[in-house]
């Protein structure tokens, strides 16, 4: 859909037009599902969060002020929805201590069949949740550590440690 047409759909949806919102859903669902899938690491959970994002977007649309592109606003909302849902679990996972040897912290979850290569999305799905969140937000979505710390409720140092850990684990998985 062209940007102008999309903007018109946004305004119609803001006025309560569910058909217009359906058009917005069609235009954006792939991008939103991608970020939900990468943050959740699980297809079923990602589909649930994707639904939550669009329901939440419908509720929040009257307050959308067109100060950013609708896609940007929706993407930000998606990150917030996933993080809010996962915050309790992640808080537990993210409480790591910075150590000299990050291998000591590695989860046995990322030790699949040796010798079998995998793509990055598959490897990310096998990361521990805390490390996956930080990697997705920092290396894929472009958030800074301060922002990640605020969004997830962890310290900046923890975010850096998790990123280091995630990269190390991913490299090991992809190097096989």
């Amino acid at each position: 859909m062209e940007p102008d047409a999309l903007s018109l759909e946004v305004r119609r949806a803001q006025a309560g037009d569910a058909d217009a919102f359906a058009a917005l859903y069609r235009a954006h669902v792939g991008r939103i599902h991608a970020v939900c899938l990468r943050l959740e690491g699980d297809p079923a959970a990602a589909e649930e969060r994707t639904q939550d994002v669009f329901v939440r977007a419908w509720d929040r649309l009257p307050g959308f002020r067109h100060e950013s592109a609708f896609g940007t606003w929706l993407h930000r909302l998606a990150v917030n929805v996933v993080l809010a849902h996962r915050r309790t679990q992640w808080r537990r996972d993210l409480r790591v201590t910075v150590v000299e040897e990050p291998e000591l912290l590695e989860s046995p979850r990322l030790s699949p069949d040796p010798g079998i290569g995998m793509d990055l999305d598959s490897a990310m799905a096998k990361l521990p949740p805390g490390a996956r969140a930080v990697f997705v937000l920092h290396d894929i979505e472009g958030y800074g550590h301060a922002e990640i710390a605020e969004l997830t409720g962890i310290a900046e140092g923890t975010s850096k440690a998790q990123l280091f850990r995630a990269r190390r684990l991913l490299r090991k998985a992809l190097d096989r």
């Binding site: 859903y25 599902h33 899938l37 639904q51 307050g63 990055l120 290396d139 605020e150 280091f164 990269r167």
Partner: protein, 167 residues
């Protein structure tokens, strides 16, 4: 001769650039989403939210009056207004966003949630108005103070909403 092994970040960069930006879900999610969309016309206000709305309206009116005097260049006494601190404003905005998303996943009654949303729209409008004014006059500590107050109002409103009983 030995080639130097790239660091993890460099190694992963090419993999990241190959990632698809869009991944369609396995099934069409629109029908379950559509079933969950709240009709916007059936919103009623609970007594507690009426009180909160009144508080918000009071702040909005006092902000509007102050803004009128500022615009009209009528001399007003401004007591020790802090200079524009954009980082603080951003932190307040973010705190509100985080709290709001927390509420999004909580089990509030649908009509309570609808009222909450409607009041947040009012506060968001006030914030947008203050932000536009500050954009036009970036150095104004008065406008910065108004914007800060509006953000704080949002955070306090969400704090009160977080204390509401869940269904």
């Amino acid at each position: 001769m030995t080639s130097q092994r790239p660091d993890d970040e460099t190694f992963l960069r090419s993999h990241i650039s190959d990632l698809p930006r869009s991944i369609e879900p396995a099934s069409d999610l629109w029908p379950p989403i559509e079933a969950r969309l709240a009709p916007r016309a059936r919103r009623r206000m609970s007594p507690m939210f009426m009180q909160l709305a009144a508080a918000i309206a009071l702040v909005a009116i006092s902000s509007a009056v102050t803004w009128y005097f500022v615009r009209a260049s009528v001399p007003v006494v401004v007591v020790a207004m802090a200079p524009v601190d954009r980082a603080q404003l951003a932190r307040l905005a973010r705190a509100g966003d985080v709290m709001e998303e927390g509420l999004g996943s909580s089990s509030l009654a649908p009509e309570t949630r609808a009222v909450l949303e409607r009041n947040l729209v009012v506060i968001d409008s006030a914030i947008a108005e203050c932000q536009r004014a500050l954009d036009a006059d970036p150095g104004s500590p008065v406008l910065a103070g108004l914007l800060r107050a509006a953000h704080r109002q949002r955070v306090e409103f969400l704090q009160q909403a977080a204390r509401l009983p869940r269904s």
